[in-house]
């Protein structure tokens, strides 16, 4: 099975920490855990309301967050939602958003594992 978080990306984030400064990897993962769940929630609400413009916006923003921590699978699902949203195509969005939620749960577990190390 592919890594939930790309180890190369995690390593490069870790290396961004200047000597004597707080750990950048830790900071980025903490922000991710704070910022992503509310936006995921917003995405689901907008999907239920059929607001495709806001669904696309939320997915685009989530895609950026996922890409930055090397969450490849999550990034890929977000990209599909982003593309469909941009095309105004609501079909097949519900299963994609369900998959997105499942993948986020995996990412969250992996982040907690990394942060407790």
């Amino acid at each position: 099975m592919a890594d939930v978080l790309d180890p190369a990306v995690i390593e490069s984030l870790r290396e961004l920490t200047p000597p004597g400064e707080p750990d950048v990897l830790n900071e980025v993962l903490t922000i991710f855990l704070q910022e992503v769940p509310p936006r995921l929630e917003r995405l689901r609400t907008f999907l239920a309301a059929g607001n495709i413009v806001e669904v696309q916006r939320a997915a685009h923003s989530l895609k950026g967050s996922a890409g930055n921590i090397g969450a490849r699978a999550l990034h890929d699902i977000c990209r599909q939602v982003d593309d469909k949203g941009r095309a105004g195509d609501l079909s097949g969005l519900a299963p994609l958003v369900a998959a997105l939620t499942l993948e986020f749960d995996k990412v969250e577990v992996e982040i907690h594992r990394l942060m407790s190390n």
């Binding site: 961004l16 980025v28 923003s61 950026g64």
Partner: protein, 218 residues
């Protein structure tokens, strides 16, 4: 030299944090904007950051709109070097971003080496622009001096005094010392030596000889 300041404008906090960490590691100082409006506010001042990394898709003003505003601004404000940062990567998007006035374009998630290499190019351009602006300023100052001497000067045909703007007659030396970087040192030419200096010396010699004769005759 002070580290160059870079504005990072992105509504997405994870990306903002990562990009800022990359820039700080490379020695830049970083300020943030959480959306396009805030970015524009921080760029629309007398002393804007030298470089800006603008996200394309932000609530309110989008990246390309911010660039258009920067480029439309008139006046002496130094131009900010702008790199658009975005997940959009089709060539139509790249063309649109550059047409809006961006200097460069980096796709997200940013690769550290590429991002820093492009920011360094921007820093070089900014430094060249600053050096060029300084050079132009000193040349303009020099030109202003030259202009001050490019006028028609009224000069007395006999004593060679010059009439200044306040209608006073000044010595040539005084006039030029005030209106240029010229200063004078006094000497005499061979003609004037023959005409003035030698007769004066001879007169002195004559006076001395007469004095001596007078003393001996007593």
């Amino acid at each position: 030299m002070l580290p160059l300041q870079v504005l990072v404008a992105d509504d997405e906090p994870v990306s903002r944090t990562v990009v800022a960490a990359m820039l700080k590691k490379a020695g830049y100082s970083v300020i943030f904007a959480n959306d396009g409006e805030e970015a524009w506010k921080k760029l629309d001042c007398d002393d804007p950051p030298a470089l800006a990394l603008l996200d394309w898709e932000m609530p309110g003003l989008q990246g390309p709109e911010v660039v258009q505003r920067i480029r439309a601004r008139s006046g002496d404000t130094p131009p900010t070097y702008v790199i658009l940062l975005t997940a959009r990567d089709s060539s139509a998007d790249i063309v649109q971003g550059l047409k809006a006035g961006a200097n460069d374009y980096v796709t997200k998630p940013a690769n550290e080496d590429e991002l820093i290499a492009r920011v360094n190019v921007g820093a070089r351009v900014v430094q060249l622009q600053t050096a060029l602006a300084d050079r132009v300023r000193s040349l303009e100052e020099a030109l202003a001096n030259v202009k001050a001497l490019q006028t028609l000067l009224p000069m007395c045909a006999y004593c060679k005094s010059i009439r200044n703007d306040q209608n006073y007659w000044e010595k040539v030396e005084t006039y030029f010392t005030q209106h240029s970087n010229v200063s004078f040192t006094h000497s005499y030419c061979p003609n004037c030596y023959e005409r003035y200096v030698r007769p004066e010396l001879e007169a002195l010699e004559g006076a001395k000889a007469a004095q001596d004769r007078h003393r001996q005759g007593r």
